[in-house]
């Protein structure tokens, strides 16, 4: 869980201060001249062609962050990211998979063995998948998440000793919990190109009264990153309802 290289850092503060301390560069004169020339061409086009409105009609809009025009290369990257998370989930939650599918614990022992050699986020020894139906709110999110994670760490890695939340799936987010591929795609979307790490816990319940799935990831040596997504979360729709960094 701890990284010795984090030891001298005071959370976000030092990183923020170092970033804020970077000097602000000024635009080099040659770049300014190049841009002035490009805009002069635009102005000449405008003068020759009439109104700005007609010129604007020919513009190809710049792709926005959330638009779909990312092209085949990005889609390929996206699929790779999702596949990587699927692999991590398959390893990180091997025991719970057994519970979900009704298989005996021993049937997933090979996967568990593979998990022991896999590279994982600190603290993400197993991913706890549950549908507790908990009523999360902005106010109680921190304590509830810590309770959720504590249950993970105190529960032996065996479905037989799990607290039963997996076998009593009832919350609206159950379909997301059960659909490993969609869950992985959702997590990859939430992570936005970050490393494929196994969540510490994923729990379906509600957030501020609406159906939601809470995803707990290792944030730093002293915190969890908690993402609250809709039960419909997928690669196409990863609506983030809420985010919080929870210290532990």
């Amino acid at each position: 869980m701890s990284d010795p290289r984090n030891g001298d850092l005071d959370g976000d503060g030092l990183v923020h201060d170092l970033l804020a301390g970077l000097p602000e560069p000024t635009m080099p004169s040659e770049v300014a001249a190049r841009i002035d020339a490009a805009l002069a061409v635009e102005a000449a086009t405008r003068d020759a062609g009439g109104t700005l409105a007609t010129a604007a009609a020919t513009v190809t809009p710049i792709t926005s962050t959330g638009s779909t025009g990312l092209g085949a290369r990005l889609r390929g990257h996206w699929l790779m990211s999702a596949a990587a998370v699927v692999a991590v989930l398959a390893l990180g939650s091997a025991v719970v998979v057994g519970a979900l599918s009704g298989r005996s614990p021993s049937s997933s022992s090979a996967a568990s063995g593979a998990a022991a050699t896999a590279s994982r986020a600190p603290g993400a020894e197993t991913t706890r998948l549950s549908a507790s139906g908990r009523g999360y709110t902005k106010a109680n999110l921190g304590p509830e998440v810590l309770t959720l994670v504590a249950a993970t760490s105190t529960s032996p890695a065996s479905p037989a000793t799990n607290d039963g939340t997996v076998s009593t799936l009832a919350a609206p987010g159950r379909s997301l919990i059960e659909d490993r591929t969609r869950l992985a795609a959702c997590l990859a979307k939430v992570e936005e190109g970050g490393p494929a790490t196994a969540p510490v816990a994923v729990d379906a319940g509600s957030f501020e009264g609406q159906p939601a799935v809470v995803v707990v990831l290792v944030g730093s040596a002293t915190s969890y990153d908690v993402f609250v997504v809709t039960p419909a979360c997928s690669s196409a729709d990863a609506t983030l309802l809420y985010y919080a960094s929870v210290r532990h």
Partner: protein
């Protein structure tokens, strides 16, 4: 981020004048903001040539689409959004750049008056660490931590929820923390050179 200018037209008035046909208005607007636009692009992309491409593409787009500006955000926010989107678009389209040699240090960090060698080296390490982040996290940190945007302002620029900006910043800082640990106490016997950074930068 006020549009108001003590001398001359404010940003909104300049943009309106441009749309109405004033041949000098857009140039005045560019002159007013180009250093900040350049800084955002350079820090986000990490390469002067890419930054120049992104700013040029963005300003041409802004020039042409000024008529679509609805005034629901500050002109600076609108301009910065176009520049950031141009940066993101460039990164997604251009995979070759990652294999290109890094630019000269001077291109990224022009010498400042009174610039101490140590602080300059620190800045280089920070800049190179920043470039190891995914582009979305980098863009959020550039706006919030480097340029002092509030989370809400950055969300407006990035066209995403404030929570997304928070998460991008938080996770970005978490990734940077081990890379920048050496800057806290480089003389510590347990000092480990930052990982994930170009070899010619990490050990300086």
């Amino acid at each position: 981020m006020s549009d108001a200018e003590p001398n001359g037209l404010d940003d909104r008035a300049l943009l309106a004048a441009h749309v109405a046909g004033d041949p000098d208005a857009f140039g005045t607007l560019v002159l007013r903001h180009r250093d900040r636009l350049w800084a955002i692009a350079l820090r986000t992309l990490g390469h002067p040539e890419d930054a120049a491409d992104a700013v040029q593409n963005a300003l041409i787009s802004a020039y042409r689409s000024a008529g679509s500006y609805r005034g629901d955000a500050a002109v600076t926010t609108w301009l910065h959004r176009i520049v950031v989107n141009a940066c993101l678009d460039l990164v997604r389209r251009r995979t070759v750049r990652a294999a290109d040699p890094l630019p000269d240090d001077d291109a990224l960090l022009p010498a400042q008056p009174g610039d101490a060698f140590a602080s300059r080296e620190t800045a280089l390490v920070v800049q190179q660490a920043l470039l190891t982040l995914p582009i979305e996290q980098r863009a959020a940190l550039v706006l919030v931590d480097l340029h002092g945007y509030s989370v809400d302002e950055a969300a407006a620029v990035l066209d995403c929820p404030a929570g997304t900006v928070k998460s991008r910043c938080s996770r970005g800082r978490a990734k940077l923390a081990p890379l920048l640990a050496s800057l806290r106490n480089p003389d510590h016997p347990g000092h480990v050179p930052p990982e994930g950074m170009p070899n010619d930068q990490a050990g300086r």
